[in-house]
Assembly symmetry: C4
Homo-oligomer: 254 residues x 4
């Protein structure tokens, strides 16, 4: 079989679209953000990407129907001239090996190129190792001009961060995309990395939607964030109970 297979449901009539990637990663920030964007903008699935670089696995839905793990392309056709058409990439997994990650990112860019993509936003989390109350959005781009442009949207470019670079699809689409003549921005929401982090996803989306000149509702993400906060506070209580009478250590969720 081919290493990566793209199955089209339709070939949407979109012009000069922007690619937005949100695959699983640190705090699932990118995935949460991209899925929320798809819901809010009523994006339509138009292609699925299967690969032997994913786990050899089907997922079984509540109805008992199985689905091979994949990545999916959705599109948004803009109705407003001030907005751009979008392709949004989400998925169950990233590639399981370094080689697989390259193959997959390369195929995603082939699809992007076919639809005339010239600009990419990759979404992800930036692991802080502690709970972040007001997550900032960190950035990395492929050109100096984009750095300046992004700073105007309040995106932070701290010197020497991320020190270890950006690993996975969010990094590769920038790097390989650049080789194919595409401009890219990676947006990373600060997150503890302990939980799926809807708050960080919202921080990323608030910036992204400004850039894209679209308006979306954040209620769903806010509700998810409250659920996570509630679970975290329960864990904190539990920890407190267990350390009672001992020297108190609240650093973890401090």
């Amino acid at each position: 079989m081919e290493n990566v297979i793209v199955n089209y449901l339709e070939k949407p009539d979109i012009k000069d679209p922007i690619l937005i990637e949100g695959l699983p990663g640190v705090g699932n920030v990118g995935k949460l953000a991209a899925e929320h964007l798809i819901d809010e903008l009523h994006a339509v699935k138009f292609a699925a990407l299967y690969s032997k670089h994913f786990p050899p696995q089907v997922l079984v839905g509540e109805n008992g129907v199985a689905k091979l793990v994949n990545n999916e392309f959705h599109f948004v056709k803009s109705s407003d001239k001030a907005q751009k058409d979008l392709i949004i990439l989400i998925g169950d997994y990233q590639g399981m090996t370094p080689e697989g990650q390259y193959e997959l990112a390369s195929k995603v860019l082939d699809v992007a190129k076919e639809f005339g993509v010239k600009k990419i936003f990759t979404l992800g989390g930036y692991g802080m190792g502690k709970v972040v109350k007001y997550p900032r959005v960190l950035g990395a781009t492929t050109t100096d001009e984009l750095v300046k442009e992004m700073m105007e949207y309040g995106i932070t470019f701290p010197k020497g961060e991320p020190g270890s670079g950006i690993v996975g699809a969010s990094g590769l689409l920038l790097g390989l995309g650049k080789l194919m003549g595409m401009e890219s921005v990676c947006l990373m929401g600060e997150t503890s990395g302990y939980f799926a982090d809807p708050k960080a996803a919202q921080a990323v989306l608030e910036v992204l939607t400004k850039i894209l000149n679209v308006k979306i509702d954040f209620k769903e993400l806010e509700m998810k964030a409250k659920e996570i906060d509630y679970m975290a506070s329960k864990l904190k209580d539990l920890e407190r109970t267990m350390t009672e009478g001992q020297e108190e250590d609240l650093n973890y969720f401090g």
Copy 2:
């Protein structure tokens, strides 16, 4: 060499056959079931599949003759119009890597397609982590209609199970087969997962033979199940002896 090689002994004259897969896995349920079906239906081996995705190994028979590890295709030509022709896949191993599993499942489906297969049953175990007296048979399918149809045979589709999906050949044949236009059902017999489990294999076969409208004898499987039960009870005795005088803990085989 090619990644996967299919060596034909003959090209059987079968029409519209159903593919049944029983490769090694949890409790070896699928393998035990498929091998028993081959014995009872006097299925005939017609092809062997070799691959560099299997271990680099020969198995040596009691006679001193070595055989490269493989998967094997057997066929059953039905003599009754109320029954369908069958292709039954068994084997020594599944692929050793995720990529290998995809390659192998893809080749199996190529063979299936060549013979006009439109429906697949994959057989496996569902690990419960404890001994199961009366194993149920859980199912997953590729269409809503099949879920309904299978429920009529007493197959269980518990919501949200298996939570981690189905990994390996039993899952991939469903997932990749769907992409090739084949309908599939995965039948999973509940099993402790501690031993090879002929009882779970029998549970799976009792359902499958009803669906296939064939009658087979279960004596062999029942004898194997008794042997396993005997061994398990011996181990339980041993455990009891060793924990005597201590707080008794029989959960393991409880």
Copy 3:
């Protein structure tokens, strides 16, 4: 680069040769045996096999000159009609991955086929987990007839052994060779597996030279065996000293 490269120094004029394989493995029995055979029969190197499935490594000789790790083909042109021409395969490594092992064995068989090989002897060790004073030679073959033939040379075919089959080149050449119409015998000398084992290598060669109808000297191997025995006895003394006053346990070298 190609996965496996064969570099010929010459294409020897040999007829209907027998292939003998002795690559590194348990107790290095096969390698020691094949290298000794090359020395004693003055076999001539005619080809080297390089591959990305070997470690990415050069070995540096005493003269400071580096050599890429490889496998090597040597040939013996028989001068006696009662003897057959030989191709002997030795090497620094076996393939590092299962897939690599298949690729390498497949290429070796391509070379063998080119020279008209119809019979293969693979040499190896059979790990006993304890020191063996009088190592037997165990066998596995690709046909019933060969089992009978080999038994006449004193080769042992114990029922159900080796239980785990034969892994690596010694197994694959049998298995893949059979698919290409070649007959094969694997000869395994019993060995502790703790050390390189020249004694087991000699046991294997004593049988093999009878089969091949050639006579060779074993002095070199006997000397190596004495060195190993000396080292083993020194280790045993050391162990005795260290356990003095304690309950004595000589099982390990018993």
Copy 4:
């Protein structure tokens, strides 16, 4: 995508160049040496090599601009007839798998061949497991003549070292280059292997520049060496403080 991609910025007009490799490795000796050589000789980058055998990663510069991890080719056009043109290879990583290392070395040699390279120097460290005050430069070559020639430059060829051979690009370029008719020398500076080691890099460069008949300044490397020495002495002090009152153990940095 292709396994290895070479992107040219220009095709330099160089004649009969010598290839010098300095990729990351033990004590980063080769990388430090090659980067220093590039700085001092004002070498010009002319090509970048990308590969799925590198980590799936971008590095982010201080300006916020991301760069896909790669290896880079630089060239030096000699202005003096007594000197040769040079190609210098540096990079962020070596290949992550054995197969990847072979693929990458093979592609580097393809590039080298295109520009008529007939001689290669690979630079690396030789790990001693202890701090070395006056690092020697060990050598390995592809011919006896080169051993003699290199000895005249003070390069050491200790019998039986490196016992484990040379692993990675520095070894493979020798081994694979030889198969392509290129002569090579590996220069290894003795290093503790605990730190990046500019002193070992300088030792290697002092010999290499003599061979190449070029003169360079070593101030930068000497400053880096002082920084490392300072850090090492601070660590030593710390260790001394922590073991005060205890039996002193200064072996580590002795």
